[in-house]
Symmetry: C2
Subunit: 200 residues, 2 copies
């Protein structure tokens, strides 16, 4: 069976850089925008639209037993969300069957569980995450610390809801991962160097 | 500066075995019962008594502002607790200055922070911890799963209180550690093998 590494990450903890460098170091495939492009082909939805729904929960978590009637607009988005998730899961399984790979987010630690993935979680102190966001920001993008903090909270909340919706589990619960790495004050390249040594 | 590795662990997650094997593998010093013996010498308290207070909180966490009057019995234990903690911290610093070492528990991740330790935390699912407790139990010791579960809860609660009391931080908060490892279904020797490869 191929080796699959999944990377869950708090926003601003350096997860994408970690995953990309780790894949490079190990010679594993790394998929990111390719997933969006392929999903666009398979669902006939626009890439931008798929991106906008990525790792977002389809609707407020209202138990079905309440018998809520969806408005038509919510209904369509709901359907798209679920179509994308189903197609994405099928695609991730195809990719995992094809070669060793590293996948970021997308509930892959759960949906690829039959591949017995190494489930990594990256986290860091809030200040460190704000600093990381600033250092990687586009030079034209000038957000204040408060705005970055707000964005971090929003993105993480959305990811947690998405994860809960599709897995029934808490995104931040360490028991869903094999190893959790604190990136506060750490150089991601060095972390990858160290971690890669544990993969045989 | 010497390399210091601290190991915080949920009861039954294999922390002691991990620490001992890691020290062996790396050729680092590993101290455990030696700490109790040395503290007994330094404080003139019995080893058994020191052991019984180990990683336990001196008193219920009542804010000092409430102005609680301690009973003489509580007062003596309180004093012993604090004496032991102070002596222990001094001793741990001496040991860290002496050589590379691995220390289990004892708030060492916090009290040895000037040594910039690698702070590891081991955790596991409850069922896995119950199984680990059973597999390492003395053959004459026949505890039911329910009794083991109760013991796990009691010990972890005591460790969390102890940690909060002496560090002001939450014991279970991943931000207090550099790396958290889920030992559920894992072989500790293999985990140590992998982890040791990251230490240079």
């Amino acid at each position: 069976m191929n080796k699959v590494i999944t990377v869950s990450r708090e926003f601003g903890s350096g997860g994408r850089e970690f995953a990309r460098r780790l894949a490079d170091k190990l010679g594993f495939a790394y998929y990111d925008s390719e997933i969006i492009s392929e999903l666009a082909k398979r669902t006939s939805l626009a890439e931008e639209y798929i991106s906008s729904l990525n790792e977002r929960c389809p609707a407020p978590l209202i138990p079905i037993s309440i018998g809520q009637t969806f408005s038509p607009a919510i209904d369509v988005r709901w359907e798209h969300h679920n179509t994308i998730f189903t197609e994405q899961t099928a695609l991730l399984k195809e990719l995992a069957k094809k070669s060793d790979c590293v996948i970021v987010g997308r509930c892959a630690d759960y949906t690829l569980r039959e591949f017995n993935p190494i489930r990594i979680r990256l986290y860091a102190e809030l200040d460190a995450r704000i600093e990381r966001c600033k250092s990687r920001a586009d030079k034209t993008e000038k957000l204040s610390d408060r705005e970055i903090k707000q964005k971090i909270n929003e993105v993480d909340k959305a990811r947690a809801k998405y994860y809960l919706f599709y897995t029934g589990k808490k995104w931040e619960d360490a028991l869903n991962y094999d190893i959790c790495i604190n990136t506060t004050g750490k150089n991601i390249a060095k972390l990858v160097e160290d971690f890669a040594a544990t993969i045989k």
